[in-house]
């Protein structure tokens, strides 16, 4: 499986035309309904078994975008998969059943963006304290937001 074969397969199976990226990376945007099936396909068919990271981007009024990167370490290509949740939506299927590495990464996303990953076995804050208010990486959260002092 090479990078180009993988790109062709993605087009055939999921009908996703906009396969961008460079010689070692494929960048695809997947509809949120196909998020878990696509991850399964990436792991089993494309051989992207290495879970690199998962994160999110706040595109303000256009809503949140979840970004996941997985790698095929043998064939040396990476797959950057994205999904748009839509304005005001904060629910996304969890990838923990597919990749165990998604556990902590999705907890961090929940912590920082308030995205509720459905099907996550243990969705709670990871970096911030349990009593923290708000989700700091949202663009609506000001850098100088006051918070009560620690005790």
């Amino acid at each position: 499986m090479t990078r180009d074969q993988a790109a062709t397969l993605i087009g055939e199976r999921f009908g996703i035309a906009q396969v961008e990226g460079d010689s070692a990376t494929i960048v695809v945007t997947v509809p949120v309904e196909q998020w878990t099936p696509f991850a399964l396909f990436a792991k089993d068919t494309l051989g992207c078994r290495f879970f690199n990271f998962s994160t999110a981007v706040d595109w303000k009024e256009q809503g949140l975008e979840v970004v996941v990167r997985v790698d095929n370490v043998d064939a040396r290509f990476g797959l950057l998969m994205k999904t748009r949740l839509g304005p005001g939506v904060s629910a996304c299927p969890s990838l923990v059943p597919v990749y165990r590495g998604a556990n902590w990464m999705e907890r961090e996303c929940y912590d920082m963006f308030g995205i509720r990953f459905e099907g996550h076995p243990d969705l709670r804050r990871i970096l911030l304290g349990d009593d923290w208010e708000g989700h700091p990486l949202l663009k609506s959260y000001a850098v100088d937001t006051p918070h009560p002092p620690y005790r």
């Binding site: 990376t25 290495f50 990271f53 981007v57 706040d58 370490v73 590495g101 556990n103 911030l128 304290g129």
Partner: protein, 387 residues
């Protein structure tokens, strides 16, 4: 007024099935920082673990949205403060890739020299502290630690004469490096490299002829290849589990393709395999430093004007995920630029974060004493875990 609950007396009658919850950390000497592991024990055996992190969180990702491309590299070094050079490296690579900024060959070589010296310094600290954790098995424990710190000082001295700082450098700048090597630096560097090379042989003999060390490291903390990839651990841990993945070889950046070095791989996946991978990496890093010093090209050290110039770094709209092989694994920076002077979003992929996430999968089933050995073999730096 609150009332005090009356004291309850609980009687224990141990029959083998009782469980005990034990807090390891946040202030535990083996944690190498602030990390709390809530262990569930059945006698000496660990049956469950909950890892609590975040004590060192500074929200680097939010901070980066408020700092320009010229300002942030010095802050990036504060994510992984034990290997500050490689953290800066990932950030400047991402910005350069989006802005299509060429880096002069001399700067690329200087970057490689510093990144490799940093790997040596970082591995020295790991070896010392890990052996300190293994404590009594090594005849008092502190012997190797003090030896390693002695050698690390030599590397830090080199950095000090190059940058002026010993821990957090700000050496990498978008477009090149901030300083050129001072006169005589290359010779001192060569002497240091030769010295460390000899000393590592010494440590290897001290450790590998010690039956207690072998007993504590071999067969402990097994990570299978399947688990390693699924959780996304990288660096010496991944290579200790049989995956020959080194970004310097797989995706050469900054002229790594010019150098001749070996990528060590071990298949056992235990603490000893990770130790072996790092011991070989020491030598390979020193080899790369020698080669880079030999072939260091002449020329400018940056394609941009100096740092104090008013010219901003212009980064057009775009996104890129740049990654480097740090001392602990893949240090990545996913940068989204919107054409302004500051990034729109920056995701920091800390190698230690992913590496630490493997602990809950491998610790259960071990004894409490092994937890310390396993944690040390993962080599987490909490500045990078919590960012």
């Amino acid at each position: 007024m609150s009332t005090v609950a009356p004291t309850k007396t609980v009687e224990f009658e141990y029959s083998g099935g009782e469980r005990l919850t034990m807090n390891m950390g946040p202030q535990h000497p083996s944690a190498h920082g602030v990390f709390r592991a809530i262990l569930t024990l059945e006698g000496e055996d660990v049956v469950g673990v909950d890892a609590v992190i975040g004590y060192l969180h500074r929200c680097h990702e939010k901070l980066s949205e408020t700092l320009t491309y010229a300002q942030y590299p010095s802050i990036a070094s504060k994510t992984d403060y034990v290997a500050a050079m490689t953290s800066e490296f990932a950030y400047v690579l991402a910005a350069e890739k989006i802005a299509k900024i060429e880096v002069p060959k001399r700067a690329q070589y200087l970057r490689v020299i510093c990144a490799e010296l940093q790997r040596v310094a970082s591995h020295l600290l790991w070896l010392g502290t890990w052996c300190l954790d293994m404590g009594g098995a090594l005849g008092g424990g502190a012997t190797i630690f003090l030896y390693c710190i002695r050698e690390r000082e030599l590397v830090l001295d080199l950095f000090e004469s190059l940058v002026g700082a010993r821990l957090l450098y700000g050496f990498y700048q978008v477009g090149g490096t901030r300083y050129d090597i001072p006169p005589g630096w290359a010779e001192t560097c060569r002497e240091t490299v030769d010295l460390i090379d000899r000393r590592i042989d010494e440590y290897e003999r001290m450790l590998e002829e010690n039956p207690f060390f072998l007993a504590r490291a071999k067969g402990v903390g097994l990570i299978s290849r399947e688990l390693a990839e699924d959780v996304g651990i990288s660096g010496p841990l991944l290579r200790g589990s049989g995956v020959a993945c080194d970004l310097r070889r797989a995706e050469p950046y900054s002229s790594y393709e010019d150098f001749d070095f070996r990528v060590p791989v071990e298949t056992a996946g235990d603490c000893f395999a990770r130790y072996r991978v790092r011991m070989v990496e020491f030598r390979e890093s020193l080899k790369i430093v020698r080669q880079a010093l030999d072939r260091l090209p002449e020329g400018p050290i940056s394609s941009r004007p100096g740092l104090k110039s008013v010219a901003q770094v212009r980064v057009p709209k775009g996104e890129y995920y740049a990654r480097v092989e740090g001392a602990r694994g893949e240090v990545g920076c996913y940068l989204i630029a919107d054409g302004s002077a500051k990034p729109y979003r920056m995701k920091w992929r800390g190698a230690s974060f992913s590496n630490l996430a493997v602990l809950p999968h491998i610790i259960p089933g071990h004894k409490v004493a092994d937890v310390v050995a396993i944690m040390g073999s993962v080599d987490p730096v909490f500045g990078e875990v919590d960012r």
